[in-house]
Amino acid sequence: MLEVSHLRKVYGPDPSAAPAVADLDFTVGDQEFVCILGSSGCGKTTMLRCLSGLIPFTAGEITLRGKPVTGPPEDMAFVFQDYSRSLLPWMTVRRNIAFPLRYKGVERNDARRATEEALEAVGLADRGDRYPWQLSGGMQQRVAIARALAYRPRILLMDEPFASVDAQTRSGLEDLLLRVKERYGITVLFVTHDIDEAIYLGDRVLVLRPPATVGHAVTVDLPRPRDQVLTKQEPEFARLRGELFAAIDGGSVAA
C-alpha cells in the first residue's frame, strides 16, 4: 500500500546540510498498523509530513497504492503532534470535528452523527459547544483525535496522539483506535514514545535511528483482538518489549 524508498529530507535551502531524514526504506501493507519508535528529534514527524505530502522531500520516492505522493492523498487523516495549534480557535469543538467532513462530501446528517459519535467516543460529549481554548490540554488532544476518527480515513497518521492524556483515558483511546481501525479497515502509522503502547497496538513496530533510518523492525505476533490486561501478560509481549528496548538503546546516539 505505502512504499517508501531512499527517502531523504533536508530542511532549508542548502541540500548538503545535515538531513532530518537521511535514507529511509520501508513498506506498509494494506490495513496494517505500524508503530514507529525513535528518540526525540530522530525525524519521525518529518517522515510523517513527507509521507502525507505536506512537505516536499529532497530525494527518494514515496508511493501510495502505486501512485507517487506529491500532495496530501485522499482519505488521509493526520493527528499532529502540536495538537493545540492544529485546532481552529474560531470554531467550536463540534465544528472543528465536523469541518473536514463537509468537504469530503459527507451528507449533513451523516456528518452530524459521525461528529457526535466521535465526541462521545473520546469522552467529550458535553464539550461540543466549547471553543478549543476553553479545554484542558488533554481534551484538546482528544478533539484532534476525534476529528481524525470522524473523518473515516483510509490511512491515518498519528504523531504522539496520546501524549497528554492520563493512563486510563489512554487505554480507552487505544482500544477505541483498534476498534475503529478494525471496523473501517484503516491503515495506521502511529508515532509514539511508549514501547508498551507500540507493541499493544501495532502489527509491526519500526525503530528509527537518527537521522531517520529504520534501525530495527519487529513484527508483533500477538493475537487480536487485544486486551489491556491479557495481552500485556503474554510472554511474547515481554520479549518484544525487551527486544525493542535494546534496539532503541543500541541504535540511538546517546540522547
Binding site: G12, P15, S16, P56, P211
Partner: protein, 291 residues
C-alpha cells in the same frame, strides 16, 4: 550524566562530503541566482502589464492625447530630471520631512500603543479623544499648522506626525492584543520586570503588526509631505509639482508625480529588507526560508 547532545550527523565519508559540498554550493548559487532573477522578472513584467494597459487606454481613446501628454514625453522629462541635481535636492527636501515625521510618529505611537493596548483604564480614558482626532482631515489642519509652525520643515513634520500617529497606534494596539497568552504567562511567571516584558515579549509579538503599520504610515507620510508642500508652497517635490502645473509644463508635472511614486516604492523596498531581517522568525517570512 548521559544527556549529551544528539550528535549532528555527518553520514558521508570525508572525501565525498567535500566533493558534494563543492558540487552543491555551485548549484546553490545557481538556485539563488535564479530566484533573484525570477523575482526581478516578475516585478518587471508586473510593471510592463500596467504600462501596456495605460498604453492601451490611450490608444483606444480612453485617455485622450490632448489631455494627457504623450507618455514618452513624460519619460524623456523623467530621464532629463534624473540626470540633473535639482531633482535630487527636491527629493531630499521632501524626504527630510518624511524621515523626521515618521521617526517621531513611531517613537511616540509605539509606546502609547503598547500602553493603551495593555491597560484598559488608560485606553478608556483616552478613547474618546483618540477616536475624535483620528478622522480629522489633514488638509483642514494645514492652515492651523502653518499658523503655529510656519511654512518650513516643522509644519511638515507636525502634519506627518499628526496623521501617521494614528495608523501606527492602532496597529500597535491590535498587535499587543495578539500576544500569545502562553507567552505572556511565561514572561510573567519568570518575573520579568515591566520594561523587559515590553522589550522582549510584547514588542516582538506585536512586531509584525507594527511593521505593517509602519509601511502604511510611511506611504501616508510621503503623501502628506508632498501634499503639504503642494498646498502651502514649502520647498520639495510638492512645490515642484505646483510650479510645473502653473506653467502648464504637464510632462514635467507627470514626471514629478511618477518620481513621487518611485520614491514610495524605494522606501518600501528598504522597509521590506529590514522586515525580512527582523521578522525572519515569523511564519510569514519563514515559510520562504524553511521547506
Amino acid at each position: 550524566m548521559s544527556l549529551e547532545g544528539t550528535a549532528t550527523v555527518t553520514s558521508a565519508p570525508r572525501g565525498t562530503a567535500r566533493a558534494n559540498l563543492a558540487d552543491t554550493s555551485g548549484s546553490l548559487r545557481r538556485l539563488l541566482g535564479q530566484r533573484w532573477l525570477r523575482d526581478l522578472g516578475l516585478k518587471v513584467s508586473g510593471v510592463l502589464v500596467v504600462l501596456l494597459a495605460l498604453e492601451a487606454c490611450s490608444r483606444t481613446g480612453l485617455l485622450s492625447r490632448d489631455w494627457f501628454p504623450p507618455i514618452t514625453d513624460t519619460y524623456v522629462e523623467l530621464f532629463k530630471l534624473a540626470a540633473g541635481q535639482p531633482l535630487w535636492t527636491e527629493i531630499g527636501r521632501t524626504l527630510s520631512g518624511w524621515g523626521l515625521g515618521i521617526a517621531l510618529a513611531t517613537v511616540l505611537a509605539v509606546p502609547c500603543g503598547i500602553l493603551l493596548g495593555s491597560n484598559a483604564t488608560a485606553y478608556r480614558m483616552t478613547r474618546v479623544v483618540i477616536e475624535f482626532c483620528r478622522p480629522v482631515p489633514s488638509v483642514a489642519l494645514i492652515p492651523l499648522a502653518v499658523l503655529v509652525y510656519g511654512v518650513g520643515l516643522e509644519m511638515k513634520v507636525f502634519l506627518i506626525v499628526f496623521v501617521t500617529f494614528w495608523p501606527i497606534l492602532l496597529q500597535v494596539i491590535y498587535g499587543v492584543q495578539d500576544v500569545d497568552p502562553v507567552v505572556r504567562d511565561t514572561a510573567r511567571s519568570y518575573g520579568l520586570p515591566a520594561h523587559a516584558r515590553f522589550l522582549r515579549v510584547t514588542l516582538p509579538s506585536a512586531a509584525p503588526y507594527i511593521a505593517t503599520g509602519l509601511r502604511i504610515a510611511s506611504a501616508i507620510a510621503l503623501v502628506l509631505a508632498v501634499t503639504a508642500e503642494l498646498v502651502v508652497g514649502a520647498p520639495g517635490l510638492g512645490q515642484s509639482i505646483v510650479v510645473a502645473q502653473s506653467n502648464a509644463n504637464l510632462p514635467r508635472m507627470y514626471a514629478l508625480i511618477i518620481v513621487t511614486g518611485l520614491v514610495g516604492w524605494v522606501i518600501n523596498l528598504a522597509f521590506q529588507a529590514i522586515e525580512r531581517r527582523l521578522l525572519k522568525w515569523h511564519p510569514s517570512q519563514r515559510q520562504e526560508v524553511a521547506q
